[in-house]
Amino acid sequence: MIALLQKLVGHQYILRNFIARDLKVKYRGTALGYLWSLLEPLSLVAIYYFLFVVVMQVHDPIYPLTVVLGVLPYNLLAAIIQSGATALVGNAGLIRRVYIPREVFVVSAVGSNLVVYLLSLGVVVPLLFYYRIVPGPQLLWLVPAVVLLVLFGTGVALFLACANAIYRDVAYLVRVVMRIYFYASPIIYSVDRVQGDLREWYLLNPAAIWISVHRSAILERPLGLELRQVAVAAVVSVLVFVFGAWSFERWEKKAVKFL
């Protein structure tokens, strides 16, 4: 863990360079540029507004906003996992020719996705105005929720990056699994909808907890979760990260030979 941090600090310039490059590439050649980070979640608001408020007559006036607040952290997690999983394979040319600690490739993918997330958070502001919601001190919960979500995602990404180098199937598998994961996380519904025996199991998924915390932090709504459940998610998130970092160190040398 300390070795990982040392590597990142020692190679901070290349890390920053990669993050800046990712962001430039993302918006290169687009007329609207950064606006796309707002338009994408907004299009989802429109879809879910039409589907649930107009067609299915859900009686929750702020439903579109709650969906956006689920989609934003989910997209962050999914982007980290997907781009992290392909970080080694995608940079094979560079990895074979110059030595850069390989963690840098995964962490830079995490970093650029985090920036995109922070930018896309801007879409929430007009919606809060529209619904006349003023966030209070509970907003501070956003920080640990995002940090732990990112730690969880980074751990998964570190593990998958090596796995995908050895078995390229992994990237395809991840795409399928992430689609299922979208519906298995409280995005288009809230955690109160999951009751009974299933609930305890459902809440073992750290994403379910952090998406819920993320949402209630901004909406100033009661969380509807026990502290114990949040604590378990925090421990699981940190453990997944530690496992990811450990597995990366363990398999990286082998993975590089498959690039």
């Binding site: 560079l94 850069i100 078995y167 590089v256 030979k257």
Partner: protein
């Protein structure tokens, strides 16, 4: 007694053979199921017990046929591959020029590539900005620095790559045939630069080349590799008495 800056001890390195490599989880699973082992059993040993101690200020030339393990050994020294067995210890900052345009981005300009290359080596954009005049002067690419790299010829890339690698004053400089594409003038210039770098005995150089004249002029010691092993190590007469690189003499 000079200080050892690269200590290579009993280094073995194997690559998985592509044709036996499981193409995916399905094949791996099937192989395991059929008791035929996974693809890992099929290996190509590129390095088989390399022993080499290099002291500060030496200029080592690695020679040998294609596939003898020269480039793989350079990659092990830079840290790209970790040995499967044995140890490699290096002291100080390594700057490498392993392939033409390694660490360059086609869509970036020459200037941006200097920053990128510096960052790969661990230098800040500010530090690289200070080194820039020397790099531009050495490479002779002044008017092209704002152009994207994809417009560069291979000679221009070699010039820029070498200029950056040498400008950062590395402790260990590693060069893999990258000079071969340059014209005579550039090669003479880069050899002079290598000589200047090593004159004060601070920089150690490991170079792979098939050019006998170049190796004779630059190297303090030659090492002949064959099938992933060190066959002989010594001065040019000894090594070239045993092996002569093909090509123009």
């Amino acid at each position: 007694m000079s200080e050892v800056v690269i200590a290579i001890h009993d280094v073995h390195l194997a690559f998985p053979l592509v044709r036996f490599r499981p193409a995916g989880i399905k094949e791996a699973f099937l192989k395991r199921l059929l008791g035929r082992g996974t693809g890992e059993d099929q290996k190509f040993w590129a390095l088989r017990g390399i022993e080499l101690s290099i002291t500060r200020g030496e200029v080592i030339g690695l020679v040998g046929k294609n596939g003898s393990g020269k480039s793989t050994l350079l990659r092990v020294i830079t840290g790209i591959y970790a040995p499967d067995r044995g140890t490699v210890e290096t002291k100080g900052r390594i700057s490498s020029l392993l392939e033409l345009g390694a660490g360059f981005r086609e869509e970036l300009s020459g200037d941006e590539n200097i920053t990128l290359n510096g960052a790969i080596l661990g230098y800040s954009p500010q530090e690289m900005a200070q080194l820039r005049p020397g790099i531009v002067e050495f490479s002779g690419l002044g008017e092209f620095m704002a152009q994207p790299l994809r417009t560069y010829s291979s000679g221009m890339r070699a010039r820029l790559g070498f200029a950056v690698a040498a400008a950062v004053r590395p402790d260990i400089l590693i060069i893999d045939e990258a000079l071969a594409v340059g014209d005579a003038e550039f090669r003479a210039k880069s050899m002079a630069r290598i000589e200047a770098l090593t004159a004060d005995q601070n920089t150690t150089v490991v170079i792979v080349s098939h050019n006998e004249a170049e190796l004779r002029r630059l190297c303090t010691r030659l090492v002949l590799l064959e099938r992933g092993q060190v066959v002989i190590s010594g001065d040019a007469e000894t090594v070239f008495g045993r092996y002569r690189p093909a090509g123009p003499t």
